[in-house]
Amino acid sequence: MTKTFTLDGKTIPFEEGETIMEAAAAAGVYIPHLCHHPEFKPHGSCKLCTVNIGGRLGAACTNQAAEGMKVESETAALNADRLALTQMLFVEGNHVCPSCEKSGNCQLQAVAYHLGMLTPHFTHFYPARDVDASHPDVLLERNRCILCELCVRASRDVDGKNVFGIGGRGIRARLIVNAASGRLADTSMSVTDRAAEVCPTGAIIRKRHGFTIPIGKRLYDHHDIAEVPVAGIERPKRD
C-alpha cells in the first residue's frame, strides 16, 4: 500500500525517504521555492518553501514526508511570510529588473509576481557587489545573487569542478570563485557546465544570449511560476 500525507487537505502519495517538496511536485502541487532544484541535494536556505507540518513550521524541501502527516502550504499567513522573505531577497541585493537579461525567465521575479509583491517594502541595502565580466562566455553579476548555492552544488556535484563557493558570513556573505585572482576567467568554468544554467536569477548569464528571446515572450511573461513544471520535476527514478 502506498503511503500518503495530506497537503492542504489533498492526499499526496509518497515513497519512503521522499521530502514533502518532492512528493508534492510529483503530484503536481506547487510549493514556492528558490534554492530547491530536483536534481540537486536539498539545501534549505531560502526558506520560501516553509510549510506548516502538523503545527510546526519547517522547510518542505528538507523535511521528509511521513505517513498521515498534515501539511499546510497555501495559507494566507504562510504566503504573507513568503512574500516578506522574497522582499528581503530583493532589498539585500541590487535587482533592476527592467534592465536585466533574465527578466521574464527569472524565478525570483516570477515568485514575486506569484506572491503578489508590489513593492520591496523593506529599506534597500544597496550593497556594493562586484560584477565579473572576465570570462569569455559567462557573466557573473553578483548584484543579482540570492546565495541559493545551486551553482555551488552543480559545479561540485555534477561538473566535478568546484568553481563556486560562498565566502564571508552574515549579510556580507558573497559568491566566490575558485581562483586566486577572484576572476571567473581564471577558473575552469565552461559555458557548457551545468553550473552555467542552474542560476534561478540573472546572476550567472551566458554572454551573447541575453536577448535571443525578446522580453515579453519569455517563460514567466505568460505563465505563473506555479503552472510551469520545472524540467526534471517528475519523481526521480529509483531502482
Binding site: S45, F122, I146, G167
Partner: protein, 596 residues
C-alpha cells in the same frame, strides 16, 4: 610566542595530519605564525591538502579572527558586550587610541598596532576586557591601558609582558557541588567501571540530568540514542564555545575543574563506545589552552586517558582540543561539528541530529562543559544524590554567571529553583531594574518579575545573568544585542541573514532619533518572520531582546520616536558625511537643515 617558523606551511599541515577536516586549526596556526592569512597561502594550502581553493577561502573568510590584511605586531580587540560598555569601554578605547595615535580599524602608520571591537569575550565579571593577540586582558582601566601602550611602544614581545595583566580570577562567589567540592581524578571512572556501563547510564537517567548549554535535553536519552546508533566510530564532543554574551561559567570550570569535565567526557566515551573526543574551545579562551593540555597530559600519565584506561583492555579514549576562531554560531551543535570538520560554521539540516549523524557523519554526543562536569559527579556519587537537588523538572545545581550592576559579579552555584530576587540579594544588586537571563537569546525580565525562578520550567538559562540598574537605558541594551546578532548571523538562511541586519538598522534609526511607530511594528513583523522561518536558534531568538524590551520598557522606545506614523530611513544629511570628511568641513553650510 609561536611554535612555527614564519609560515612553515608544510610543518603546520603535517602537524594536523594533512587532514582538511582540521582546516580551522591549520588556519589558526598559519595566522599565529604569519600574522595574517595571505591570499597565496590559500593556494599553497589547497595544494598541500588537495582540496579546492574555494573551500579554503570559504572557511578563511567566515571566521572573525582570520584576516588577509596585516593587523600589525599587536592586535587589540575590545570586548563589546553591553556590560563592557557600561563599564566604560568606549571611553577607554578612545583613550587608548589617542595614547597611541591611532584610529580603530586602521593599522597604525608604523604597522605596529591594530584596534577593533569583538563580541563578548567571556569576562563580563571583569569588564571591560580585551584580547591582545588573542590573549585576554581583564579589568581594564586607564593605568592598565597606559602600561599596555608603553609595552607596545617599547615593542616588547607578549611573552615578556607582566603576567599580572593576564591574570584572570575565577570569582567563584557561591560554591556548590561542582565548584566547591574536591574531586579526585579517576573517582568517577572507577565507579563507572565497577558499576558497568548500563548501570552508569541508568544513574545518569535517574539523576534526570538535562543539558546545561541551553536547550535542556535529557542527557541520558541523548547518550542512549548515540550508544544504540550504528557507525564506523562514535565521538564525544564537549561544547566549550561559550559564546553567549554574559556567560563565563564554562571558563571557570575549565580553569579550575578541568578534571571533572574531562572525566565526564571519558565516562560518556565508555557509555557510548567512543575512542576519540574533542573539546571545542572558543578562540577567546586561548589563554586556557596550555593549562588544559597539561591536565590532559597528566591524565594520560595517570592512565585516565589513552590506551586501556585504568587497565580495562577494551577502553581506549583520548581527547583533542580544537580552538574556535570568533564565531558565536559555532556554539550551535551542528555548526560546531561543521567547524570541527574544517568548514564554515553553518548549522546543518536536522534531523538527523548529531547523536546519529555528527562528526564525520558518525554518531556523536555533543554536551556542554557543565553537563559533562555534572555527569562525572553523577557517575561518582549516583543519580539519587543529584536528583535530590533542585526541582522535580530541573534536577541538580546550576552555575550562574552574574555581571553588570552589582557589587559581587562572578560565578554562583545554586540548586535549581532559586529566585531571581535571591541571586540579586546575594550579588549585591539592590538597585536592579532588569535582568537579562541567559544572554541576548534568553529572557529579559523587569523588576516586576524578580520572584521568578531559575529552572527549566520557568526561566531556562545557559547561565548568563546580566543585571541592569534603574539608570540603564534598556533600549541601548537591546540595540547592543541587535548588533551582536547581525554580526554573528552565519548568513545561511534568508530570514536571519537579512532580518538581523534590518533589525539592527531600524534600532540605529531609532537611536538617531528618526524612528516612528511604523518602525516598531516593522520590528515585530521581522520578529515574526525570524521566529517562524529561521533555520536555527540564533535566528529564532535574534529579535527577542527588542521585542521583550519593547513590551517591558516601552518608555525607553517612546522617548525616541520622532513621529508617531512614519519617518523615512534615508537620511539626506547623513549621505553628505563622506563629502564632509573628504573636504574637512563641518560648518553649518556643510549640513542640510532638518525640516521642522
Amino acid at each position: 610566542m609561536s611554535d612555527y617558523d614564519v609560515c612553515d606551511l608544510p610543518g603546520i599541515v603535517a602537524r594536523w595530519h594533512h587532514d582538511p577536516a582540521n582546516l580551522v586549526q591549520i588556519l589558526r596556526n598559519v595566522q599565529e605564525s604569519c600574522g595574517t592569512i595571505p591570499s597565496d597561502t590559500l593556494d599553497r594550502l589547497a595544494k598541500l591538502l588537495d582540496v579546492p581553493r574555494v573551500r579554503i577561502e570559504s572557511t578563511a573568510s567566515f571566521y572573525a579572527f582570520f584576516h588577509a590584511e596585516s593587523h600589525g605586531a599587536y592586535e587589540i580587540l575590545f570586548s563589546d558586550n553591553v556590560i563592557d560598555q557600561m563599564a566604560g569601554k568606549a571611553e577607554l578605547k578612545q583613550y587608548f587610541c589617542e595614547r597611541l595615535w591611532l584610529e580603530p580599524r586602521k593599522l597604525s602608520e608604523d604597522g605596529l598596532v591594530y584596534v577593533d571591537d569583538t563580541a563578548d569575550i567571556g569576562l563580563a565579571d571583569q569588564a571591560p576586557a580585551m584580547l591582545v593577540n588573542g590573549f585576554a586582558v581583564p579589568a581594564l582601566d586607564k593605568s592598565r591601558l597606559d602600561l599596555v601602550a608603553e609595552l607596545i611602544r617599547a615593542q616588547k614581545p607578549l611573552a615578556e609582558w607582566p603576567p599580572m595583566l593576564f591574570e584572570i580570577p575565577d570569582n567563584i562567589r557561591q560554591p556548590g557541588p561542582l565548584t566547591g567540592e574536591a574531586f579526585t581524578p579517576g573517582a568517577a571512572l572507577k565507579a563507572t567501571l565497577a558499576r558497568g556501563t548500563e548501570a552508569t547510564l541508568a544513574e545518569v537517567d535517574a539523576a534526570s540530568l538535562r543539558g546545561r548549554g541551553g536547550a535542556g535535553f535529557r542527557t541520558a536519552t541523548k547518550w542512549a540514542s548515540c550508544r544504540k546508533a550504528e557507525g564506523r566510530a562514535h565521538y564525544v564532543v564537549c561544547n566549550a564555545d561559550e559564546g553567549e554574551p554574559g556567560t563565563f561559567k564554562d571558563r571557570v570550570l575549565l580553569n579550575s575543574h578541568a578534571d571533572l569535565v574531562f572525566e565526564g567526557m571519558t565516562v560518556c566515551a565508555r557509555v557510548i563506545g567512543a575512542r576519540r573526543g574533542f573539546v571545542y574551545l572558543r578562540g577567546e579562551y586561548k589563554n586556557l589552552l596550555e593549562k588544559l593540555e597539561s591536565v590532559l597530559a597528566r591524565r594520560r600519565e595517570a592512565n585516565l586517558l589513552g590506551q586501556a584506561i585504568l587497565g580495562e583492555a577494551d577502553f581506549d579514549f583520548d581527547i583533542e582540543i580544537h580552538l574556535g576562531a570568533g564565531a558565536y554560531i559555532c556554539g550551535e551543535e551542528s555548526a560546531l561539528i561543521e567547524s570541527l570538520e574544517g568548514k564554515p560554521g553553518k548549522p546543518r539540516n536536522r534531523p538527523p541530529f548529531p547523536d546519529r549523524c555528527g562528526y564525520r557523519n558518525q554518531p556523536t554526543v555533543v554536551n556542554n562543559v557543565e553537563t559533562f562536569a555534572c555527569a562525572a559527579k553523577i557517575a561518582e556519587k549516583g543519580g539519587a544524590w543529584f536528583a535530590a537537588m533542585g526541582t522535580p523538572q530541573s534536577a541538580g545545581s546550576k552555575l550562574i554567571s552574574v555581571s553588570g550592576d552589582c557589587q559581587r559579579p562572578g560565578v554562583y552555584e545554586y540548586s535549581f529553583g532559586v529566585t531571581v530576587r535571591q541571586v540579586l540579594i546575594d550579588c549585591g544588586a539592590e538597585d536592579a531594574h532588569a535582568v537579562q537571563v541567559s544572554g541576548p537569546s534568553g529572557t529579559c525580565i523587569s523588576f516586576r518579575e524578580f520572584d521568578r525562578r531559575i529552572a527549566f520550567e520557568d526561566l531556562a538559562t545557559a547561565g548568563a545573568f546580566m543585571v541592569f540598574s534603574r539608570e540603564r537605558d534598556m533600549f541601548e541594551v537591546a540595540r547592543n544585542f541587535t548588533h551582536f546578532f547581525a554580526h554573528e548571523s552565519c548568513g545561511f538562511c534568508t530570514p536571519c541573514r537579512v532580518g538581523t541586519s534590518l533589525l539592527r538598522n531600524i534600532m540605529d534609526k531609532l537611536a538617531a532619533g528618526k524612528g516612528s511607530a511604523y518602525d516598531m511594528n516593522e520590528m515585530k513583523h521581522i520578529m515574526h518572520i525570524l521566529r517562524g522561518m529561521a533555520h536555527c536558534g540564533l535566528g529564532h531568538t535574534a529579535a527577542n531582546p527588542v521585542v521583550q524590551t519593547m513590551e517591558k520598557f516601552p518608555e525607553a522606545y517612546e522617548r525616541r520616536l520622532k513621529r508617531l506614523d512614519f519617518e523615512p530611513a534615508f537620511d539626506l544629511d547623513g549621505a553628505l558625511a563622506t563629502a564632509r570628511l573628504i573636504t574637512g568641513r563641518d560648518d553649518e553650510w556643510a549640513h542640510l537643515a532638518e525640516e521642522p
